[in-house]
């Protein structure tokens, strides 16, 4: 384990930024945290719970896939993929780090999505143990320890110091490159910090939420649950939950005519939208109830069925904070699952 004092953090970030693009959570003017590119003087936010999840770094909201040049009846396909610069994301919460594993299982399974794989291979993740868990947090429900985040490098911040531990070769290489800015140390202060974080987590309102009643193989039992109707009744189908969600990965592929050719791009899409499944011969999900149910069944039943029981939710709490009608996965889990609320 290595450490550096907080007053040297700016120097350290500057050193990382010399050879990598560096991104970190920064306080926005409205008091929320957003990921921004580091420049000299950029301060790390105390709130790591960014409004948008860091999934953008690997799966951007829109990205160009290829281009076409058309001439008469002829088409030329132009592969526009190019090499990326290495980049570092600093200050990623434990829940958000876990979301990368969930996305990896989709995009890195055969056939590998080369766009995602390229970004993933160029990115180094420095996680940071939670400094300020929110009332909307429930990562522990999914077995995530906010005091011991994973990533290529794990970090812990105390009142006066910041501690680093490399978890793989990629992480070790980065830490080694920082040389004299870091000094070796024992893990005493980190253990104390972990205990402090866990004490806060134990006071959070959602600490007793469980995944009981959900998981692979529960389709027949849960699909026709009568509660879906009342739970989805007020859903506006706005899709905000899917856009702030770090694990939602549904996408659309569209063409844009530039006047000089066609750019084919992909962009995030949402199962909450009425045209998501609309096709020439009809729509297999006609009502908001069906679309709402799809989102939660996918996260809590279908995804775990295909992924060794791993749920496609990390308890980051973003959808709780952002839903305009205050409907969310916690209410679904309490109403339909084994935990009927307390």
């Amino acid at each position: 384990m290595r450490k550096c004092s907080l007053d040297k953090l700016d120097l350290l970030l500057g050193e990382i930024a010399k050879s990598n693009e560096l991104y970190l959570p920064v306080d926005d003017s409205d008091g929320s945290a957003v990921y921004k590119k580091w420049e000299k003087g950029t301060a790390l936010s105390d709130a790591l719970n960014t409004v948008r999840s860091p999934k953008d770094f690997f799966f951007p909201q829109t990205e160009n896939l290829m281009e076409f040049k058309m001439q008469g009846k002829n088409i030329e396909i132009i592969d526009t993929r190019s090499e990326l610069e290495d980049f570092v994301i600093f200050g990623v919460r434990a829940c958000d780090v876990k979301s990368f594993e969930i996305l990896d299982r989709v995009f890195l399974s055969e056939p590998v999505d080369s766009y995602y794989a390229m970004r993933r291979s160029h990115g180094v993740i420095i996680s940071l143990a939670c400094t300020r868990p929110a009332e909307t947090c429930f990562c522990k429900t999914f077995g995530i320890d906010p005091a011991s985040p994973s990533g290529d490098i794990s970090a812990w911040k105390t009142e006066s110091e910041i501690f680093f531990e490399a978890n793989n070769e990629k992480g070790e290489a980065l830490l080694s490159s920082l040389g004299a800015l870091l000094q070796d140390c024992d893990n005493e202060a980190v253990e104390a910090q972990k205990a402090k974080i866990n004490a806060i987590m134990d006071k959070l309102p959602l600490k007793n939420l469980t995944t009981e009643g959900f998981g692979g193989g529960k389709t027949a039992e849960l699909f026709d649950d009568p509660h879906w109707a009342e739970l989805s009744e007020a859903c506006l189908g706005c899709g905000t939950c899917t856009f702030v969600c770090p694990t939602c990965q549904c996408y659309d592929i569209k063409d844009f005519n530039t006047g000089n050719g066609v750019i084919r791009f992909r962009c995030w899409d949402s199962c909450m939208y009425s045209d998501f499944t609309k096709m020439a011969h009809g729509n297999n999900r006609l009502t908001q109830k069906e679309r709402f149910r799809q989102r939660f069944m996918h996260k809590l039943v279908y995804y775990p069925e295909n992924n060794d029981g791993l749920f496609s939710c990390v308890g980051c709490g973003r959808c709780l904070a952002k839903c305009p009608i205050s409907m969310n996965i916690v209410k679904v889990m309490k109403t339909i699952g084994g935990d009927k609320g307390e």
């Binding site: 056939p111 389709t219 990965q249 996408y251 020439a280 996918h298």
Partner: protein
């Protein structure tokens, strides 16, 4: 980077022939710019065709894998991409990628069995691939019965091929039907599900159904009424798709993705899925 295979990046295909099948279905012959087949496939698999600037859509490959020269797609005019394709002429380039999905189990489950194919309307398109594959390897299969119905005589897909080739094959019986009586038609009149029940096939065979969702449902019920087991009945589904490889989330039904776990499903497997297809 550019040497990394990327499934979303298609090849250029050339339309080398357009056959008018019915008032709203045309069959397109497609090869690469080198004049070859774009890729090999198995009966029942699909391909993504696109017209850049208009869109990309999934189509079943109607030609048999045994055709080594080109691929064919029978396409009904019913949306942006299909409208555009219907006005395309020979020589027009499009894009093609695939093959996608799980094929019919022609080399194991179907081998040595009597086969019953039941299609409605443009639903014959995906079955033509497997029918012609089984006709090609005729000695590997038992008796082949084909029940095919459409709205009218003019709406029967592949009519010439059915009359001139399928019906003349030893051990192949074709039963055609149209929804309503029509001048010049002395064949059967009535809906496919009822016709299948009337024909009262013996149940010691594998059945394959494809057509509009309502036709599949009633035909399956009819087959069960005459004693078929759902484990001997296959169908092929169609849902909206974008990626074709189980990642974009669109064709997800239960824990399955129709693009990669289907489109071919055995009817007892379908029963375990939520009723959302």
């Amino acid at each position: 980077m550019n040497n990394l295979n990327e499934t979303l990046i298609p090849k250029v295909g050339v339309i080398t022939d357009v056959r008018i099948d019915t008032p709203d279905i045309k069959t397109f012959r497609v090869v690469t710019t080198d004049g070859e087949k774009a890729f090999d496939h198995r009966p029942g698999q699909c391909a993504m065709l696109s017209v850049p600037g208009v869109g990309e859509a999934m189509f079943s490959i109607t030609s048999s894998p045994t055709n080594e020269e080109y691929m064919e797609f029978s396409i009904k005019k019913c949306g942006c991409v299909t409208d555009w394709l219907h006005q395309a002429e020979k020589g027009q380039q499009i894009t093609i990628r695939g093959p996608y999905g799980k094929p019919f189990p022609v080399d194991d489950v179907f081998a040595g069995k009597d086969l019953l194919f039941i299609a409605g309307g443009v639903g014959l398109a995906p079955l033509r691939s497997v029918i012609n594959y089984c006709r090609h390897y005729r000695d590997r299969y038992g008796k082949i019965d084909i029940v095919y119905g459409s709205r009218s005589k003019d709406d029967l897909l592949d009519y010439q091929e059915i009359i001139e080739e399928w019906q003349k094959d030893e051990g192949v019986n074709v039963y055609l039907t149209i929804d309503n009586p029509q001048e010049g038609w002395d064949g059967h009149v009535g809906f496919v599900p009822n016709y299948v029940k009337e024909l009262s096939f013996d149940t010691n065979k594998v059945a394959v159904i494809c057509g509009p969702p309502i036709m599949i449902k009633f035909t399956l019920d009819g087959l069960c009424d005459i004693g078929f087991d759902k484990t001997d009945v296959y169908t092929t589904l169609e849902l909206r798709m974008k990626c074709g490889v189980g990642k974009c989330g669109r064709c997800n039904v239960g824990a399955k993705y129709v693009c990669k776990d289907g489109p071919v499903f055995r009817c007892d497997e379908l029963e375990e899925l939520p009723d959302e297809y």
